[in-house]
Amino acid sequence: MNLEALMPVLIALVGSAGLWGFLSTKAKQEHERRLLQEGKSAEFNETLKEQVESLNQKVDKLVVEKEELLKAIADLRAELAEARATVQHLEAVVRMRSDFRG
């Protein structure tokens, strides 16, 4: 077989090797890109999870503090009502005494 007859075969072999090399490399690059994207996505999800856990703890703490504050306000209201009743009683006593003298 002379070189002229071998030429089409050589061209075809080089062409098919090039075509397959191109397609194969492209598929591998796409695979690598997806793996990288998946890794980044997993890292992002992990960070989000940590942030949610941290915020959850803060919310729990704030709820406890709010309950304590509501309780303190209720105590203060009770004391205020008691003091107001005492003051009204004393005012009435003072008024009765001044009426009696007059």
């Binding site: 007859a5 030429m7 089409p8 075969v9 061209i11 075809a12 072999l13 062409g15 098919s16 075509l19 397959w20 397609l23 194969s24 598929a27 591998k28 796409e30 695979h31 997806r34 793996l35 998946e38």
Partner: protein, 141 residues
């Protein structure tokens, strides 16, 4: 494997055999019948491997088919009609002679071979991409 994968492989296999058969005895001197027969055989093998073989083997067979398709395509394009081989003519009703292979037939044969090459490359690449996706889903690098 996606839903259309096996159907395409079966279709490709049948068409490979049919196209190889249509080129049989084209010019044994320039495109040996052994080569055309091997191409048809590899195309038939695609069906067998698609059913019973592994994906790696299927990919290998499809790549081999692509190489053979391209070799035959290249040989067909570079084929120089030589007058020492048999020329076949049809005799028309008016008594004129018509050469069997015309330009239209030539270019349609080229298109057919180009299509077979591209299709086999696409299918081999499809198998490779499916394999890589399968590895990704199973957390393999």
């Amino acid at each position: 494997m996606s839903a259309n994968g096996p159907a395409q492989l079966v279709s490709y296999s049948f068409w490979g055999v049919l196209v190889a058969g249509s080129l049989w005895d084209f010019c044994d001197e320039c495109i040996p019948n052994v080569l055309i027969g091997s191409w048809g055989g590899v195309s038939a093998l695609v069906l067998v491997v698609a059913i019973w073989g592994s994906k790696k083997a299927l990919q290998g067979v499809l790549v081999a088919d692509m190489v053979l398709s391209m070799v035959i395509l290249s040989m067909y394009i570079f084929h120089d009609p030589h007058y020492i081989s048999t020329m076949v003519y049809n005799v028309a009703a008016d008594g004129t002679f018509k050469k069997i292979e015309g330009d239209v037939e030539h270019w349609f044969t080229v298109a057919m071979l180009v299509w077979m090459t591209i299709h086999s490359a696409y299918l081999a690449n499809l198998i490779q991409r499916q394999e890589l996706e399968s590895r990704r889903f199973h957390n393999e690098s």
